[in-house]
């Protein structure tokens, strides 16, 4: 028998033994991937799943492309002052289905969805759905619980659920201690300017994106205004108790020794008292327009 013929006889044996080895190796690779969560959900129920499959093994790039499309879409709508954001959810849905670990899509996407118009779509229900999906895929990311708590607190106004989200997130060993404090405070008090102020501060400090930082900064200034007005009104009430009449100008509170000077808003404009004796922003203050916009659209918005 020649060498060539020998090889032909041996080849099936070699292939049989070899593919048995391949089978065993594949089984252990599957086990390994399952254990380390490298494998992704296989259900092909959403259109995002189809995109994921069509993108072969390049799903992360497709996810990034879809997320970039979300940003472009949202930015363009913002620029044109258009409030119809009907493609926002489908795009986010596909981006996060294609790449379930795309954290910015959950974090920023939930803001875009939950923020009230004209800043966002005004759909906290979809934002909750997106964040819950994010938490399922990335249970170790406690910031997603913070975002979920914020959506419930600011937009859905569901304080028990907001408290529960902060409490759940606080169980993560890496979570900041204030998550637990927020859970207790919201459970006890519901909405309060102090809580809102604190939550916006957390967003401001944790984000690196200039757009989100600017938005959070504006909200912090507005929350500061709200807290200042509340404090001035309290002093005005004290003044009324002492003198029997309501102060017409802030200077009266200063002269009565209740204030050291005329307080300034975060933009440096002095506060004033309105016709009803209640404290308000100066007519020249740029914050006045923002405050009116906020009031027009259901109070302080989500981060």
């Amino acid at each position: 028998m020649t060498g060539k013929n020998m090889a032909v006889w041996w080849l099936p044996v070699l292939l049989l033994a070899g593919f048995t080895g391949v089978w065993h190796l594949q089984e252990s690779i599957d086990q390994q991937k399952n254990a380390t969560q490298l494998e992704q959900d296989q259900l092909m129920l959403l259109s995002g799943k189809l995109v994921q499959k069509l993108s072969l093994e390049y799903a992360p790039l497709m996810g990034a492309i879809y997320w970039t499309r979300v940003v472009q879409y949202f930015g363009e709508k913002h620029r044109l002052h258009q409030t119809n954001l009907e493609l926002l959810w489908p795009l986010l849905d596909i981006a996060t289905t294609v790449d379930p670990h795309l954290m910015p899509a959950y974090r920023f996407g939930s803001m875009f969805l939950s923020d009230h118009p004209p800043r966002g779509e005004g759909r906290p229900d979809l934002a909750v759905q997106l964040l819950e999906r994010g938490i399922r895929a990335n249970p170790e990311q406690w910031r997603l619980y913070q975002d979920l708590g914020n959506v419930y607190y600011f937009d859905a106004k569901d304080y028990p659920k907001a408290s529960a989200a902060f409490a759940e997130g606080s169980k993560n060993p890496k979570a900041m201690i204030w998550m637990k404090v927020m859970a207790a405070k919201i459970a006890a008090e519901g909405e309060s300017p102090e809580t809102s102020y604190f939550l916006w501060q957390q967003v401001y400090q944790s984000t690196t994106d200039p757009m989100v930082k600017k938005n959070a900064g504006e909200h912090i200034r507005l929350m500061q205004v709200e807290l200042d007005l509340k404090a001035i009104n309290r002093l005005s009430d004290d003044f009324q108790k002492q003198t029997g009449h309501r102060a017409a100008r802030i200077n009266e509170l200063v002269q009565a020794g209740l204030l050291n000077g005329v307080p300034l808003d975060p933009d440096g404009f002095p506060y004033a008292l309105g016709d009803d004796g209640k404290a308000e922003l100066n007519l020249d203050s740029p914050l006045l327009e923002k405050q009116l916009l906020e009031k027009q659209f259901s109070g302080p918005s989500s981060p």
Binding site: V8, F19, V22, I29, L43, P60, M103
Partner: protein, 258 residues
Amino acid sequence: MRNIWTVATNTFREAVRDRVLYNLVFFALLMMGAAILVGQVSIGIEDSVIVSLGLTAISVIGIFIAVFIGVGLVSKEIDKRTLYALLAKPVQRWEFLLGKYGGLVLTLTVNTAAMAVGLYVALWTVKHPLERSDWYVLVAVYLILLKLALIVALAMLFSCFTTPFLAILFTAGLYVAGVFAEDLRTMQAVGLAPETMKLLRGISYLLPNFENFNVMGAVAHSRGVPASLVWQDTWYALLYASLVLATAAVVFSRRNLK
């Protein structure tokens, strides 16, 4: 062994002469463009985009080279009749085949390594200093290289018994099927008969599972890849490629070259 090495180094030189490595210019331009643009069009995922785009480019360019050049390795030598002169020397057919394979894998290794350097340069421009987790990208690059080595083996096998056009089709088809190999095992939801399920399961293990080498999602999000998985993937690629090359060697040795 010496014959194999001679054929391999000549194949590498030939690839360089054929300007195969020119794709690196395209890759460099792509990464430079991405590094400049990415910060302006996305929020919070600059480094992730660079990594996933870079790895995708490395993979796609590598696959094109592996398939198109892999298929041409044998057929070109036959068409140009240079194979006859070579086989007249004391070189076995299987040595020729292994040498060609080694040469292309060497070309792909150099090409992939250069692209990996380009990827790191682009990554560094959007994010410096680099973090420890950024070095996971090297693991992904290594696994892409294993995948490419397997594709070259398949391309060579098909080119041993069919036309270059069909060999390209077969290789590309098997690659796509291999990407979906895992899906064949998880099709219970479709409601197939148990016998069909068993058959599909068996086929899924026989197909080259290219998803084994896909860790782009993990490394793009700075997640580590277990060393044991890298080892298993290495063994998988070595074993599978050896089986394919052994089959190719047998087929090629029996091929009538007249």
